[in-house]
């Protein structure tokens, strides 16, 4: 089960990275700060996703959650206060914005489930 959750986390994180890389390649790389941020998000997401599949430690799961949470925070800021002078509305660009949000929420859910399961197993091991 944990292996499945880990791989699911990796797939969703890689999906988010792919969508950011796609947007970066198709225009966003010209946007100051946002362009480089998309590049870093995509590259880090691919790296962490690969290492998760290879069986990386819990620190990488936290990194995956951090990347997903950071991307979601950027999404919210860009649709409210603006982010480094960059602003967008709703789920534009479609369909990347919606798919990316769904992927990142899924990463947070999967990592949450992994952490809950680990804590439960630890409590049981301590009790025994």
């Amino acid at each position: 089960m944990t292996v499945f959750l880990r791989i699911a986390t990796a797939v969703c994180l890689a999906t988010s990275g792919y969508l950011h890389a796609q947007l970066y390649a198709h225009g966003y790389h010209t946007i100051p700060v946002i362009g480089p941020a998309f590049l870093v998000q995509a590259a880090a997401s691919f790296a962490v996703a690969l290492l998760l599949v290879l069986g990386g430690p819990w620190l990488l799961q936290l990194a995956a959650a951090g990347l997903a949470a950071g991307s979601l925070a950027g999404f919210v800021l860009s649709r409210t206060t603006g982010l480094f002078g960059f602003s967008e509305t709703g789920f534009q660009p479609a369909p990347q914005a919606l798919l990316s949000v769904l992927s990142e929420v899924a990463v947070l859910v999967f990592v949450g489930v992994i952490l809950v399961r680990r804590n439960r197993q630890r409590r049981i091991a301590t009790a025994v």
């Binding site: 970066y24 390649a25 691919f46 430690p57 002078g85």
Partner: protein, 312 residues
């Protein structure tokens, strides 16, 4: 102590080494992945600086020559620094575009001063579009007398450089609250782009934003949607504007909007003050809010590279 990764007692030496190795692998893979993605996104883009065939132009905006106030007590000196910075660029730009509010009060002396100052630019051409400060009392007549040669209607025009089609619009006349293009200019845009292939990169200059940046302060153009509808079929459309005295970027489908900063004085961020009046910054901070914009384009790239540079 056990090998448990999450041991409350802390990590063993072996665990620490393992974590360090994983972390190192993550960093190395991230750097390598970033390199691959950037190459896929823009092969050879890094070479654009050295490419003699690349298009290069500079946008300056809102010089407000003649402004007197605590927000900048020497706008002429600031504009002069901006022009010097352009002349000091490594490569001579193909042209320099001033996106309006050249003057503060549209006086003949101010127009003459800005014309003389811009004539010192080391560039192929200088272009302008008017701001509302350039047409205060005469609907832009003094502006067009000096800068309107070869333009159509109230001063709009288009031109081509190195495969990119440029459209310079006037949305500061017939102002009520928002910018306005009017039916004649909309028809000009429709006819102007009708003959172009959809893969032609388009750049549109205007003073007031063509997107709704903050309509409560008039930072938008009421009939821009009609003009932009003619540009939807193009793969790359970049709209560059001034007026708001601050950097702001927004994308809507195939169109990317870039608001430029000023060479004169900053305005508040949208909605942070009751009105868009000049902001006086602490001593020494003004230059950080002023700047110029370098834009490069290399044939085959998906879009233009926009680089905003603070006033040196």
């Amino acid at each position: 102590m056990t090998e448990d990764d999450h041991s409350p007692e802390g990590m063993t030496r072996r665990q620490l080494l393992r974590h360090t190795a994983w972390f190192g692998a993550a960093v190395v893979l991230t750097v390598a992945g970033g390199e691959v993605i950037s190459r896929v996104a823009g092969p050879g883009e890094a070479l654009a600086d050295d490419d003699p065939n690349a298009l290069r132009f500079v946008q300056v905006s809102d010089s407000h020559l003649g402004f007197k106030g605590s927000a900048n007590t020497a706008v002429e000196a600031s504009f002069s620094r901006a022009l010097g910075q352009i002349n000091a660029l490594g490569r001579r730009p193909d042209f320099v575009m001033h996106t309006g509010d050249l003057t503060h009060l549209s006086t003949a002396a101010q127009f003459d001063q800005v014309r003389q100052m811009m004539s010192t630019l080391d560039t192929g051409y200088t272009f302008t579009v008017p701001g509302e400060h350039d047409s205060i009392d005469d609907a832009g007549q003094k502006y067009r007398k000096i800068f309107g040669a070869g333009t159509a209607g109230d001063g709009w025009y288009s031109f081509d450089v190195k495969g990119v089609h440029f459209i310079a619009l006037v949305n500061t006349l017939n102002l009520e609250k928002l910018g306005h293009l009017g039916p004649d200019q909309l028809e000009f845009v429709r006819k102007d782009v009708a003959k172009l292939g959809s893969d032609t990169p388009i750049v549109v200059f205007s003073h007031i934003p063509l997107f709704a940046m903050y309509p409560a302060w008039g930072w938008g153009t009421d009939d821009a949607a009609q003009a932009l509808s003619y540009l939807r079929r193009f793969s790359s459309v970049t709209c560059l504007n001034g007026h708001v005295h601050q950097l702001f970027t927004k994308t809507e489908g195939n169109i990317t909007f870039h608001s430029a900063t000023t060479t004169a004085y900053p305005l508040p961020q949208p909605g942070t003050r009751p009105a868009p009046t000049p902001v006086t910054l602490p001593a020494g901070k003004l230059a950080d809010a002023l700047g110029i914009r370098e834009v490069t384009y290399r044939a085959g790239q998906p879009g233009l590279a926009v680089k905003d540079v603070k006033l040196a």
